[in-house]
């Protein structure tokens, strides 16, 4: 029982992005929700579902009380890490399709720079317990350490270079330079600057690494029938998938496991996608995801990216058109979900014309959504 095109995202909203929000994660969440509901043209009294990231701090009960929801009848959270954005969309859509809720808000608010810092292991550190007994004592202390291992191995196997994936950062920066919301709206980046930037965890240069951001974001989902009572384009959820595929070989990304499921559900192929948002905690993973989802063959990602095929300006598959996590904000998939919806609705600052199918990955194969433009 597929929910294909029966549920739509009708509203998106975000706060300003900063390094020092000066307000609580709860307030950031509430401001983003208010903005998304306003964008949707849907009143607070119509919201009956809330869904959130488990790693966040604002519970649905507190959010519901502050929003004044009298009608909350479906809620939940999804655990793992920052990577569950697509899983949240999939589950909210399933709930609406099944009649458990009519209007679901997915939200988050994080002080990712001034509060708990992901890149320092503040959220993911486990003090040597469980499986971390086999990693943390040896200096694998933050998410980037494991990801750098995979990057090094894939460089070895496919010949992809730092300069190749540096072009991911350059293209995303060019997109951010068109987006007034982006942290790096006013700062340009050249491949030379990328190559000369200091090395953080080798092979990652500074400009391969995502930002750290304070901010909030929200999405409003409802049935396509309810969505069509409003004006404007509708971002229909063509397909969504999540994967618990656990990658332990330091070569593949989880997209190897997710991709067949996703394309089967969507009844389209990678060549049908006009624009993609891909989880870019670290620049080379955009390239690896392009390979593992089947947009290009394994080993061809470097040439594809070097030729600027992911650029809005003349590329065959523009990627991370708002600037992504490297240059817009690090909202762990939320800003990319928002941008993917904007592309499907024709509202991006780097709009791809005739974007019928808009793809978003929210965790290098642990989850993905394909939006379809509807009237």
């Amino acid at each position: 029982m597929s929910f294909m095109n029966s549920v739509a995202v009708v509203g998106v909203g975000e706060t300003d992005y900063s390094t020092e929000s000066g307000r609580s994660e709860l307030v950031l969440s509430l401001q983003a929700i208010n903005a998304a509901l306003k964008d949707a043209g849907i009143g607070h009294d119509e919201v009956d579902g809330l869904l959130r990231w488990s790693v966040d701090t604002s519970s649905e009960a507190t959010v519901a009380a502050n929003l004044g929801l009298s009608n909350l009848s479906w809620f939940g959270e999804i655990n793992q890490a920052g990577n569950v954005g697509a899983a949240l969309v999939a589950n909210a859509a399933a709930a609406i399709h099944a009649g458990l809720a009519n209007v679901v808000v997915i939200y988050r608010g994080v002080n990712g720079r001034s509060g708990r810092r992901y890149g320092r292991g503040d959220v993911t550190g486990r003090s040597g317990r469980g499986s971390a007994a086999f990693t943390e004592p040896f200096g694998m202390l933050t998410p980037q350490h494991g990801l750098a291992m995979t990057t090094r191995r894939r460089m070895h196997e496919t010949g992809v270079s730092s300069r190749d994936f540096g072009m991911v950062a350059v293209c995303e920066r060019e997109h951010a330079n068109r987006n007034p919301r982006a942290t790096f709206f006013e700062k340009t980046l050249s491949i030379e600057q990328h190559q000369e930037s200091r090395v953080i965890v080798d092979p990652f240069h500074l400009f391969d690494c995502c930002l750290e951001t304070d901010g909030g974001g929200a999405l409003v989902l409802t049935s396509v029938e309810r969505a069509r009572e409003r004006d404007g384009h509708v971002a229909m959820i063509r397909a969504a998938a999540q994967s618990g595929y656990s990658v332990r070989n330091f070569i593949d990304t989880a997209a190897v496991g997710l991709a067949p499921n996703l394309w089967e559900r969507a009844k389209i192929t990678p060549s049908d996608i006009s624009v993609a948002q891909i989880y870019d905690h670290f620049a080379p993973f955009v390239l690896f995801a392009l390979e593992d989802y089947g947009f290009v063959r394994r080993g061809e990602g470097g040439d594809f990216v070097s030729a600027k095929e992911i650029s809005w300006d003349g590329g065959s598959l523009p990627v991370n058109t708002s600037g992504g996590h490297l240059s817009e904000a690090y909202m762990q998939g939320m800003n990319q979900l928002i941008e993917s919806v904007r592309q499907a609705r024709g509202e991006s600052t780097a709009q791809v014309s005739d974007a019928q199918f808009s793809f978003v990955d929210t965790g290098i194969g642990t989850g993905a959504v394909i939006f379809e433009r509807g009237e």
Binding site: R120, S127, G128, R129, P137, F138, G139, L141, V201
Partner: protein, 141 residues
């Protein structure tokens, strides 16, 4: 003999053994690198798992302790407080000749000349009566 000399960053977490990994850590204290081996399919699981092939019985096989560098990273900036004052810091993944890929350090590793494929051998470092770490050193050949 386990080595007590390796200059380990003192704030790096220590492994916390649990019920499912206790055999592994005890083996190291006894001077052996034990690989948890499924009696059904023969898979050598690393890190140890709780169940394989729907059963809970495992053999613990003594590894040869030889392998090669599968991948490595060099922490250049102290992205975690435990590495402050200890950069550049080298972490490696060793593929044992038996197959499993082990996250570890090289006691004599110079980040400058490390290469994927370099041969390494086990070098145990005893931190306490309870904790001995499975580290490696480059083969002299």
């Amino acid at each position: 003999m386990p080595d007590k000399e390796w200059d380990r960053p003192e704030n790096l977490p220590l492994p916390v053994p649990d019920e499912d990994s206790l055999m592994f850590w005890q083996g190291l204290s006894d001077g052996k690198l034990l690989l948890q081996t499924c009696i059904e399919c023969g898979t050598k699981n690393y890190p140890p798992v709780s169940m394989c092939c729907q059963q809970f019985n495992f053999e613990w096989e003594d590894a040869q302790g030889t392998g090669s560098i599968f991948s490595y990273v060099v922490t250049q900036q102290p992205v975690h407080p435990a590495l402050k004052g200890h950069t550049p810091f080298l972490t490696v993944i060793v593929q044992l000749d038996e197959g499993p890929r082990i996250t570890s350090n090289l006691v004599d590793g110079n980040p400058e000349n490390i290469e994927i494929g370099s041969r390494v051998e086990l070098h145990l470092v005893e931190l306490s009566d309870e904790v001995t770490l499975p580290l490696f050193k480059l083969c002299s050949d």
